[in-house]
């Protein structure tokens, strides 16, 4: 394919995308239609860019080295109260997550009168690579928290991966500012930055 043909193909692709956006917004609220008309030039640049969409394996989305895991799980009767109470007492301390070393963040949200848990996290690599390690290294941390979920088979169960998968919902979109920065790399760069500052302070 010549460069000219590629350029024409690309222009066709963007034009088609714009046509579909217009179609989607044909019956949008007036404020949205006006915004689309005014903002179309900016939107074109994103529509023209190459896809950033990747899969994190069997389920979930990924950008670069960072993947997302989102799940909504029904809770045992009384489970919502226990989780809320436990999270409250922990006051944001998650040593287990520090140990795991691949978790960028974790979000716990109780929904529908504490009958469901929304659990969302951003993590490095493959979601199931270290499940076996959890079993021998931090089984209690996992079971204390997740025993409140209806049907939790226990972290030692051979069907644990299937259970986790069955509650996971792939995000419809996933954005990561620094897709190549893992937790380990971020910590390393923090150390390098501090050491460099110390060095510059000494010679400066």
């Amino acid at each position: 394919m010549t460069v000219l043909e590629q350029t024409i193909g690309q222009e066709d692709r963007v034009a088609e995308k714009i046509r579909r956006v217009r179609e989607l917004y044909a019956d949008a609220p007036e404020v949205g239609q006006a915004a689309l008309a005014a903002g179309l030039e900016n939107l074109k640049r994103e529509l023209a860019a190459s896809t950033q969409r990747q899969s994190a394996g069997r389920i979930g989305a990924r950008q670069g080295k960072v993947s997302e895991l989102t799940s909504i799980v029904p809770l045992e009767p009384g489970g919502g109260q226990r989780i809320r109470g436990l999270l409250d007492l922990l006051e944001g301390n998650f040593r287990g997550a520090d140990l795991v070393g691949t978790l960028h963040d974790m979000r716990f949200v109780l929904l529908d009168d504490d009958t469901k848990l929304l659990f969302a996290t951003a993590y490095d690599g493959e979601w199931d690579a270290y499940i076996d390690d959890f079993v021998t290294k931090i089984p209690n941390s996992m079971d204390i928290l997740f025993c409140n979920c209806a049907g939790w088979p226990g972290i030692r169960s051979p069907v644990i991966k299937d259970w986790l998968l069955s509650h996971q919902i792939t995000a419809d979109a996933w954005y990561v500012a620094s897709p190549n920065l893992t937790v380990a790399e971020t910590k390393r760069l923090e150390k390098v930055g501090a050491a460099l500052d110390e060095f510059l302070d000494k010679i400066g």
């Binding site: 080295k65 140990l99 070393g101 493959e126 270290y130 079993v135 290294k137 051979p158 937790v183 910590k187």
Partner: protein, 456 residues
Amino acid sequence: MSLDEATESDAAARAPMLDLGDIQATVLRLRPAPYYGSHVLLRVDNPQAGRALLARLVPHVDSAANWWDPAAAWLSVGLTYEGLEAVGVPQDSLASFPEAFRVGMAARAPQLRDVGVNDPENWEPIYGKGQIHVGLSAFSDTEEKWARVMDVARSAYEGLSRVDVLAVQPFGAQPGDRNSLGYKDGIDQPPIEGSGVGPLPGQGRPIKAGEFVLGYPGEAGAPLPMPQPDVLGRNGAFVGFRKYQSLVGAFNRFLRANAATEEERELLAAKLVGRWRSGAPLALAPETDDPALGADPRRNNDFAYQDDPRGLRIPLGAHIRRMNPRDTPLSRLTDVNLHRLIRRGTTYGLPYDPDAVSEADDEAPRGAIFLFISAKAMATMEFLQQEWINDGDFIGAGSERDPIIGRQEPGATFTIPRTPVRRRIHGIETFNVLRGGEYLFMPSLSALNWLANLTG
């Protein structure tokens, strides 16, 4: 000195708990030194013929009984998923095998990071197409016994219609027992609880047998999921068969480009692996090679990393430190004992030549075929390929990869910690290219009998 004399004599630790008489010899028996042998890959196009083949083989497949005795010669057999299908294993039994085994190594290429130059599209044509059904391996300590075992093997697989030989790959016997990049290898094997032999110094505590052989408790307490029926799964193990070609020219060019003298080249070669060519570990011989140390199984693996946290002796990214980080603090929650594999490395082709520097030398057939063995070999290989071989994050080395078996991207680096500042070598290349691979199941002797007596 035999292995038996070399190990701890604590009787309790040595009492075998495994059913050694039912487990195939290759699972536990160490490669002899020197060694001679062949891998034979077969295709079976008729269930009766496949079962006849197994029936002929069974009396000659050796068990792991007394595996610690100095080895003479032995034969082992494994079947791929398609091989199990081909001999008529019932559907519900086939479905009880792990998914990665069922779809095969080539289909798991994304999980194994077998992409680019290692992509199955670039493999030798017999691999990854579902046509390899049975794999035989003959090991022996002399050329003469090798010939005898091969006669036995041939009398089993020859003369059966609908059983075809796809490849016969001889291996072994390099000068000084070195591999195709010039190193003594196969030193650090995982110690297995209840195998009848205590750990060698430095091997660490014995790992639960169920991690390596099906039907026994694993590290988490319970046995790992096992193919059904019981007689088929128990005492069996999975095998990752991987054929690598060593790019000796590229390897030597790298050493020459980054080291001025022969001494410096040898030190650089040792930093890549963590051991000198003799097998002597840099942990115990940091300045110069010590062949006597390398040759001594009681000393050549007797070290830990606690007094070398920065990798000043054995770089954090060195091959042996990646493949068994021992007590190295890792940036990810890891139970090192869950990610070990038994390795039977078999070197084939031309011996290593330190003066081979041309691109033509990269083309010469020369390398290693590995059998990676465990009760969950597929999952462990995927973990290793993703985490410890083709990444560096777990040791704080960013995206650096294993210098020996990693697949390097253009501009890849290898870091050698030093004081006051580290040395970072740019432009490390892929030195071992994957030429093919298959997952096999290495059944117990009773399971081989069961398979040979299937009907239908």
